[in-house]
Symmetry: C2
Subunit: 211 residues, 2 copies
Amino acid sequence: MKFAKIPLATINRLSIYLRNLDELLANGIDVISSERLAKQCGVNPAQIRKDLAYFGEFGVRGVGYRVKDLITQIRDILGLNRRWNLALFGVGNLGSALVRHGNFMKHGYQFVAAFDVDPKKIGKRLASGLAIEHVDRFEEIVKERQVDIGVIAVPPGSAQGVANQLILAGINGILNFSPVQIQVPDCCRVENVDFSIKLDNLAYHISSSAT
Amino acid sequence: MKFAKIPLATINRLSIYLRNLDELLANGIDVISSERLAKQCGVNPAQIRKDLAYFGEFGVRGVGYRVKDLITQIRDILGLNRRWNLALFGVGNLGSALVRHGNFMKHGYQFVAAFDVDPKKIGKRLASGLAIEHVDRFEEIVKERQVDIGVIAVPPGSAQGVANQLILAGINGILNFSPVQIQVPDCCRVENVDFSIKLDNLAYHISSSAT
């Protein structure tokens, strides 16, 4: 599905709406008003209506949203009506925890490959059953297993190199856990997860609000 | 140190500048132009100058920034001229990987407590030597060990409860890895790390740019 240019913040919020709708459905709720959904998501009702309006008409006036339908619709918008294959680069503490993290699977993301360079790790299996491969086999495996997104959890000095390989292999989505800025061409999108930057925000907030 | 209201994006970028300056220093670079620093950080030079201008005068015209001095100054601004004590809630796969994650320590953040509710885990020690405590001992331990920031890695259904306890204990900074929106009073700041939202962004980008 293709839409006009949508603000990134809207896409972020759609994910949050989806997470909350999934929870509502699991709790047996079939219909929800935009007010109640907004409250649960920590936004105002006008925001939800505005975000959804980019994509069409949703909900029934005076009734609200049918939870199951809205889930399907948001999944369609975000491109989540299919499975997404992830490849992990760097099977350290963080990397292995990510593979075991149930939250990925639940949302349609699945690790189909894990790469490292440490000879002691190659051939071993992760808790999920996935065998750790040498990064030398990257090109072949990425094609074979139809990897969509690369997850980078290597040491900072190796992150750009891994990203370059991913780009050459035609992979346009990177989730980067390495604390460096990765340079990519416009066709590729990088999402950074840097815990320490988030902690710096908290430290600044606490320091600057202390009197 | 207290400053006028600074945009959150500026605080985020200061963290990124700091990470890059640390790397420059480690590589033996003493002085850097704002152009070169900007390139390394993936921003434009005017942005760096604008961000720093909120806090005073930095750098020497025609020379650039002295790396070591700028590190000290940014650390002062962010409140990183001290150690920050973290408490982990939820010692699952992700939680234990976080405690072992070297990147926290490097930036002055240290886990001083780890809590869980699983009787099988209580009393066991993490790789760092830290013993896992029952969350019932929370209040006493948080005071004793001077916890500054709570790191929430519990299942979604328990996250708000943990946050409530943190707020009651006077903790004003929360790093939340649980995929739910936590409600907190204005004095408290929550930074969310939700990998699956980042993946949704990538999925949307890849889907909507495919022709």
